[in-house]
Symmetry: C2
Subunit: 376 residues, 2 copies
DNA sequence: ATGAAAGCGCTAACAA
DNA sequence: TTGTTAGCGCTTTCAT
């Protein structure tokens, strides 16, 4: 039988409430009593039952991570960081994989809601309105999506796309393709907008191809189009797609970077290992995981004790944290980009090969941003 | 305020126990009452509080996954499969990352023990005796480690290593290196034993290099040794190491597979994407995750209701499931292996290039094995 | 500083 | 078939 608070009380000759206090409010108990109780607890191997505790405090000390696809290499570092951060604050984390399915996502959120103090929605696929509705049931932090009035952790892929396009223009490319990601992705929209602006500013033409599935196959499938379109460079929605594109071009006999330069987004581990090594926009996924957990727990701490049980946020007059954090990205220049037809002219934006002087943005240096709405 | 069983009772004009029964023993309640209760529950958005339920039933309907390193690409497919399988049985899963640290592992197991009905230990790093002790506190299933009397899910990497060595011998290699994995890894020991036997049988000499960290760097670091040792082929503990080795050899001007053939183990997604594509022993990680969850929940179901609370297994006379499941592996031949100096002689064990007739072992076809002890 | 008592939301005998 | 009652392990007033 598992040892309960009562066993400890009996062993140390005090009332169970004293034992309880020893753990949840140590300063309220006589130091001598405390050590005695602690000793007995240690002895018996007592661990408070969190379910029982949750029942009365309304705090489970659990959080939930809703992930679009664990097998997508973008997510594991985020999960790892989030889990580690949560644990350091004595929280445990449920991980749930939605398989990129919006309705599975909704179901999961509901199933978990009662068991957690808050949820991290990572690259959610459901509609904004559903998310807003959910946020009334359970504290939420959204990663990679911007919603008015909700705490979000965003990666500045817009900035990244700008750096990427500048890099390509500097190398002498004037015809650039953009391989778009999934419809309705906030990240995708940001990339497109910034890439377009940067291309315009640099006197280059941007051809948007897509939307595409955010996978290797999405990239392979576009290789033929890329070749025919006559572009000399391409920016892909993510690394997986970029790697697929390189593969596809290779199969068509098109050399990367000699004939076409390719840039990805994410800097997944994989990107250092392919041949050629991928030039890419590094997104601070670990920092995002940590930050998101911090924001969630902050929210949790802020809530008045009265508003207990899940769905606490619904209580009248409760101040919500709605900070939106924008994490910086950086361009990592490797071997998949090279000189284009207009090389040597204009200002030398072309970085030298190798791990050149790429923009170094400290991932631990978030920029808080006033939240403004963006549809979907 | 969250809606409780009492709200539903009030709304449908029955006692709370009837509502309770409607959910946990529907057959005991009048169909008409049932639909009414269900309707009210639906209306109010009622969801049973699992913590409260757990408190009395002793079943949390949660399981825990203890993972050595989520960022290691070997694990995500396993996690994904396990989570999906668990959910289909209405279980939620805690994921905890130990960072390959045995003591973190122990701490985590204890922290989680009270909150789960069972734990999956994936490639555990702690000692056998500790695991055995733990298994008395909480139902356990161990993946990638064999212990007497404990349910284990094993991948037959021994068979895989044999296939790999046979393949190399068939290609005409007679001097083969084995890049060992971490000390104390069951997988490592199996690979070494089988590879040695297969080499002996094939008239080849096997040189063991290591132990090495199971990472890309582990492989890079051995490149120089491999070159100097004069072998013409190498089998690595895992794909990451194999990829690192290829990288390292490349840096030394040694061509793979022309001068040295390389084989990995695991068949992580990455391995299809490197150049050259990696020949490797595919381990059925998803099947392992599914199977392990099944075994755990089976155990859970078997336990008599009397033995409630966690640590149920400790009750006297409780029959434990101790089946050990061995999952088949297969050799996937890609581009990192080619003819060796003795090619053309002997029987043509050399498979043709391409996705040839490699051994097809159905991952859904486990072989149950009588458990026999293996230290560490 | 400690004890007594109530009760979190739910299930499980037992009665009716 | 339904209601009554007790209580899972814990925290938290309220007394003392």
């Amino acid at each position: 039988m598992p040892v309960t608070i009562r066993d400890v009380a009996r062993a140390s000759g005090v009332h169970i409430s004293t034992v309880s206090r020893t753990f949840s409010a140590p300063h309220l108990v006589n130091p001598e009593t405390r050590v005695r109780v602690l000793a007995c607890a240690e002895d018996l191997g007592y661990r408070p039952n969190r379910a029982a505790r949750a029942l009365i405090t309304g705090r489970t000390h659990n959080i939930g991570l809703i992930i679009a696809d664990i097998a997508n290499p973008f997510f594991p570092p985020l999960i790892k960081a989030a889990e580690s951060q949560a644990r350091s604050r004595d929280y445990h984390v449920f991980v749930a994989d939605t398989n990129e399915d919006p309705s599975a996502e909704e179901e999961l959120v509901h199933a978990l809601a009662k068991q957690v103090d808050g949820l991290l929605l990572c690259s959610p696929r459901m509609s904004n309105s559903l998310i807003e509705q959910l946020s009334r049931e359970v504290p939420l932090v959204v990663v990679n999506r911007q919603l008015t009035g909700l705490p979000c952790v965003l990666m500045d892929v817009g900035q990244g796309a700008r750096l990427a396009v500048d890099h390509l223009v500097g190398l002498g490319h004037r015809q650039i393709a953009l391989l778009g990601g999934p419809r309705g992705s906030w990240t995708n929209r940001e990339i497109r907008r910034s890439a377009a602006a940067a291309a315009r500013a640099g006197g280059a033409e941007l051809t948007v191809l897509g939307p595409n599935p955010p996978t290797e196959h999405g990239g392979i499938a576009q290789a033929e189009h890329v070749r025919r379109s006559g572009v000399t460079a391409a920016l892909a929605y993510n690394d997986l797609m970029a790697i697929g594109l390189i593969e596809g071009l290779d199969a068509l006999g098109v050399d990367v970077p000699r004939q076409v330069s390719v840039v990805g987004v994410d800097d997944i581990t994989l990107s250092r290992l392919t041949r050629p090594k991928l030039t890419t926009v590094a997104t601070p996924t670990a920092a995002a995981g940590r930050t998101a957990v911090d924001m969630l727990l902050q929210q949790d701490t802020d809530l008045p004790r009265a508003a207990r049980g899940s769905g606490a946020g619904a209580a009248v007059g409760v101040r919500r944290t709605t900070a939106q954090v924008m994490l910086q990205t950086e361009l990592v220049i490797r071997d998949s980009t090279g000189p284009g037809p207009h090389a040597g002219r204009g200002r030398s934006g072309a970085a030298p090969a190798g791990p050149g002087p790429h923009r170094r943005a400290d991932p631990g240096d978030p920029v808080t941003v006033a939240g403004s709405d963006v549809a979907s």
